[in-house]
């Protein structure tokens, strides 16, 4: 078939248009053949085809062949979101022998067939957006991706089990790692646990060797009691600033002998011990727990008499043979360059006080699960004795599941780990005290290797399970047997009536939440959060550890609640992705940066202050603006603001966008 010659003023334009059925995903709603027929009539279109699966090899090969046979020089594919397959079709375009940026993608699945029910209207919409793309692609220019080298090091933010695992994996491959942890020690939440489900192996036995390895690994720079305060740059070339909080200890001199702690003027602890969930006291000079890594003491400026300006004989300093104590220490900063970042900042547990009906904070004998974790630990505040605050040993214990989870008043999501850790705690409490343990659950969610079997074991051990969300925990008795007890009020949905069960101790299985400062972290690393506040992965299935910012990966509970095996797997995956980037050695920069047409530029300076990345400067000799392509990230703010129309953004040129607007609207 002969076509009219169509030019864009510079060359003959020969467009190939392809529309994908995506099985019935698109074809079931949009009349793809009709769209192809319509596009075939548009100026410059030489080929217009529909195909079952454009992203398949056959589909891509079709493009490659057509480019050759029909001398196509522009390609448009109407299919799924460009965020999914733009790369695929760009490379097919390239394979066909033309510049990959002579391609444009139209989203008719996510923005079309999946969201519209009226087939006729959905088809008309597809025609319009296809016409827009055909209109714009005429103006596309050949572009080159700039290559930038990748700095051969990785920043890992957060030293819980996810950060530890990722750091070790990278180090094993010989990569340089900076592991930054906010707390004085690494270990995260896992370090608080006594046992892990379902195998009941000792958490410390499997974690502490890994922690020690991290501390002594020459490839890993471990900075605990430190925070990332600023991140700049882009994939392959990030710079980060780390703030070191003063420990008031010279880190290079302290050997962790703990003489200073023994000799502190406070003979007993004077401050809530965070590590023990405030169930015990610690001194102003302390180490979080004996296996802490790095094994360095910290002086708490809030609790220390001397640092508070009070009179103190500073016996700790005297006791230190190595003169490691330095009350004048100030915060300090390190600037580092890294190629990629892995964010493993973890979670926080739901604040049980937000469910006032469960009485946490009101009744002494209502505990959170984390507190009980410390009670059952032999290194915990009670030496592993499960006792109430008054020293009594509980005879009956209630474990309330789903506190702050699966709850429209608080958090809607399932926290995934609570069923299993509740079972673990039930087992441990029974083992330690012989108490009768009630579990109050909505559903038992024990999906995982060996998990269901563990549940069965608990059933066999004689633990009691009551299905029903607990209505409240009260100390108001209505019968003699309730006097002096906590009463759990619950609708037993299997038995079909409301029960009041008096117990000595209530354990609230609190759910997992994003950390309070997750949104600051998110902004700093320029990544997104899903609506509940966990960091958003680029794709829930195919890119679960990638983010919207290239080179920034996420792993562990900062991405969503998960247990230790899943966290470790994800951390390893993130390390693998980071390693792939490092080993590739370079990154290709998207070419959608902006540049100045010096002829048109008057040097009016409008753009300079608007650039968020300080990429624009004024060449005072030429009296024009100059954009540094390395710093430009391609937002286009300057282009939109340039009053002279002197700035152009690659792939988003004015003429391209105007053409797209005009053509999209030209289809009635």
């Amino acid at each position: 078939m002969e076509h009219e010659v169509h030019t864009n003023g510079k060359e003959e334009v020969r467009i190939g248009f392809y529309i994908c059925h995506c099985g019935s995903n698109i074809g079931g709603t949009i009349d793809v053949a009709a769209v192809a027929d319509y596009v075939r009539t548009l100026p410059g279109v030489v080929v217009s085809k529909d195909y079952k699966y454009m992203c398949s090899n056959a589909g891509q090969d079709m493009i490659v062949e057509d480019i050759e046979i029909n001398r196509l020089n522009r390609i448009v594919v109407a299919a799924c979101s460009p965020l999914l397959h733009e790369k695929t079709f760009r490379s097919a375009t390239h394979k066909g022998g033309i510049n990959p940026f002579f391609f444009h993608m139209v989203n008719i699945r996510e923005h079309g067939s999946w969201v519209h029910e009226d087939k006729a209207l959905a088809t008309e919409k597809a025609k319009a957006v296809a016409r827009g793309a055909v209109g714009r692609v005429r103006f596309h220019k050949a572009l080159e991706k700039r290559k930038e080298p990748v700095t051969q090091s990785v920043l890992i933010v957060g030293g819980g089990i996810a950060g530890i695992q990722a750091a070790q994996t990278l180090s094993n491959a010989g990569k340089k790692v900076y592991l930054v942890e906010r707390e004085p020690t690494i270990g995260g939440h896992m370090a608080l646990f006594d046992k892990t489900f379902p195998t009941l192996d000792c958490a410390a036995c499997i974690l502490t060797p890994k922690m020690t390895d991290i501390g002594s690994d020459p490839n890993i720079t471990l900075w605990s009691y430190a925070e990332v305060v600023d991140v700049k740059g882009y994939v392959g070339n990030f710079t980060a600033q780390i703030r070191h909080k003063p420990r008031y200890i010279k880190e290079d001199l302290c050997v962790g002998c703990l003489d200073c702690i023994d000799n502190c003027v406070f003979k007993q602890g004077n401050t809530d011990d965070e590590f023990n969930q405030s169930l015990s006291k610690r001194k102003p000079v302390y180490i979080p727990f004996p296996q802490a890594v790095p094994k360095l003491v910290v002086i708490d400026p809030e609790a220390c008499t001397h640092l508070n300006g009070g009179k103190c004989e500073q016996s700790c300093a005297t006791a230190c043979e190595r003169d490691a104590i330095d009350f004048n220490q100030k915060e300090s900063f390190d600037d580092i360059e890294v190629g990629t970042v892995i964010v493993t900042t973890g979670f926080k547990t739901f604040d049980a006080a937000r469910k006032p009906l469960y009485g946490y904070g009101r009744y002494d004998n209502v505990y959170t699960a984390l507190e009980v974790e410390r009670l059952v630990t032999s290194s915990g505040p009670t030496g592993g004795e499960v006792v109430l605050r008054d020293g009594r040993r509980p005879k009956t214990v209630a474990i309330v599941h789903c506190v702050g989870s699966r709850d429209h008043q608080t958090n809607r999501w399932c926290s995934r780990v609570c069923c299993m850790y509740s079972l673990k705690l039930a087992h441990l409490i029974k083992e330690h005290t012989g108490a009768e343990v009630f579990n109050f659950y909505i559903d038992m969610r024990c999906a995982g290797k060996g998990y269901e079997e563990f549940y069965e074991r608990l059933l066999e051990e004689g633990n009691r399970f009551v299905r029903g969300r607990v209505a409240e925990v009260t100390d108001v008795p209505v019968s003699a047997e309730e006097e002096g007890k906590l009463v759990v009020k619950v609708e037993d949905s299997l038995a079909g009536f409301v029960r009041r069960i008096p117990v000595d101790m209530v354990v609230l299985s609190t759910g997992l939440e994003p950390r309070q400062d997750a949104s600051n972290v998110r902004r700093m690393f320029n990544i997104s959060c899903s609506s509940e506040g966990f960091f958003l992965e680029r794709h829930p299935k195919l890119a679960p550890i990638s983010t919207t910012t290239d080179g920034v990966f996420i792993a562990g509970c900062c991405q969503g609640p998960k247990d230790i095996p899943d966290t470790v797997a994800q951390a390893g995956f993130a390390a693998g992705e980071a390693m792939a980037l490092l080993d590739k050695g370079f990154v290709e920069m998207e070419p959608m940066t902006s540049f100045v047409n010096e002829e048109l530029c008057s040097g009016c300076k409008t753009c300079i202050g608007l650039c968020p990345f300080s990429a624009i400067t004024r060449d005072d000799a030429k009296e024009v603006a100059v954009i540094n392509p390395v710093l430009c990230k391609g937002c286009g703010v300057c282009v939109a603001a340039c009053p002279s129309g002197a700035i152009t953004q690659n792939l988003f040129e004015d003429c391209e966008i105007f053409a797209e607007i005009e053509e999209v609207l030209a289809h009635a």
Partner: protein, 302 residues
């Protein structure tokens, strides 16, 4: 400060003391409560249960009247308050129902644009007027008076615009600010039995008993309420309940506005004290808040 005042049926009958004390307190604070012209019954719990659309329309007529005034709406009865909020929420959530309601209103020459803010006097006094400002007006601090603050179920459930629905504290804070001692009363938002006290007394009165018993266990001198039905149930049935549950001792049950009025030094008659079945004067005298018998009450400024 001025509000469109919607008293509701109870405040004109069994809850007269609530209205008297509320108006007395507001007038002392120069808060104007302008009673809506031609208001109607909110429909209470009964109408909504029978026919939601008509129930919502009935309630919305009052909202429409209030909207005409351009003022926020003051609604002291917790029942009315809950119904009006529900009518608003339903119209926001279900546009079809909103359409039907507006057809109904139109027949009566009214429109409702969804802009009225419905407020309970607790919110008005604690938030709009302010706990701090209130404290500065106190003439007779309620020193040593042990109060169990009882909110009932309707005021803060299912969702309260001004307080936590399970652990409300507005009344606690307000009364604390006038010198009262607030006892730990975890049953503060439990149900008093509502109309069950009359229809199925063994259930309804048991609920009242538990509330009163707990107040007694916490050594409260008085139970403060914010709802005419709660006050009625807890006070009027006390004798009946005590017959069945002999460990119960009489305890005054008052409106929180009566206690606030007392702290402002207002006339006990104006505050509706004479209407109480379990008199409050003895405990006020015992705590030294009210002058001992023999002194003329008004002059003593309570």
């Amino acid at each position: 400060m001025k509000y469109a005042y919607y008293p509701g049926c109870s405040l004109k009958a069994s809850g007269k003391a609530f209205e008297e004390s509320l108006l007395a307190v507001c007038s002392a604070l120069e808060i104007e409560l302008a009673e809506l012209d031609d208001w109607n019954c909110c429909g209470a719990t009964a109408y909504m249960a029978v026919d939601e659309t008509k129930g919502a329309a009935l309630a919305s007529r009052n909202l429409a009247l209030a909207e005409q005034t351009g003022l926020d709406m003051a609604v002291p009865c917790a029942g009315c308050y809950g119904v009006l909020l529900k009518a608003q929420a339903m119209q926001r959530k279900y546009p079809r129902l909103a359409d039907q309601v507006s057809v109904g209103l139109k027949a009566g020459g009214l429109t409702y644009g969804g802009r009225v803010r419905v407020k309970h006097p607790l919110e008005i006094l604690a938030m709009d007027f302010g706990t701090k400002a209130f404290r500065s007006r106190v003439k007779v601090p309620l020193k040593g008076l042990r109060v169990a603050c009882y909110y009932g179920c309707r005021l803060v459930r299912p969702e309260s615009p001004f307080d936590d629905s399970h652990d409300p504290v507005t009344m606690d804070n307000l009364l604390k600010s006038v010198g009262a001692r607030i006892v730990d009363y975890t049953l503060k938002s439990k149900c008093c039995g509502g109309s069950l006290t009359g229809t199925i007394p063994e259930v309804g009165q048991n609920l009242c008993y538990q509330l009163l018993k707990e107040a007694q266990r916490r050594e409260a001198d008085v139970v403060a309420t914010a709802c005419p039905l709660c006050q009625f149930n807890l006070e009027c049935y006390q004798k009946d309940i005590a017959r069945k549950y002999t460990d119960l001792k009489p305890i005054p049950v008052v409106y929180f506005t009566q206690l606030l009025g007392a702290s402002l030094g207002l006339d006990p008659v104006a505050l509706g004290f004479p209407r109480l079945i379990v008199p409050i004067e003895p405990i006020l005298r015992e705590r030294g808040i009210m002058a001992k018998a023999g002194t003329e009450p008004a002059k003593a400024g309570v």
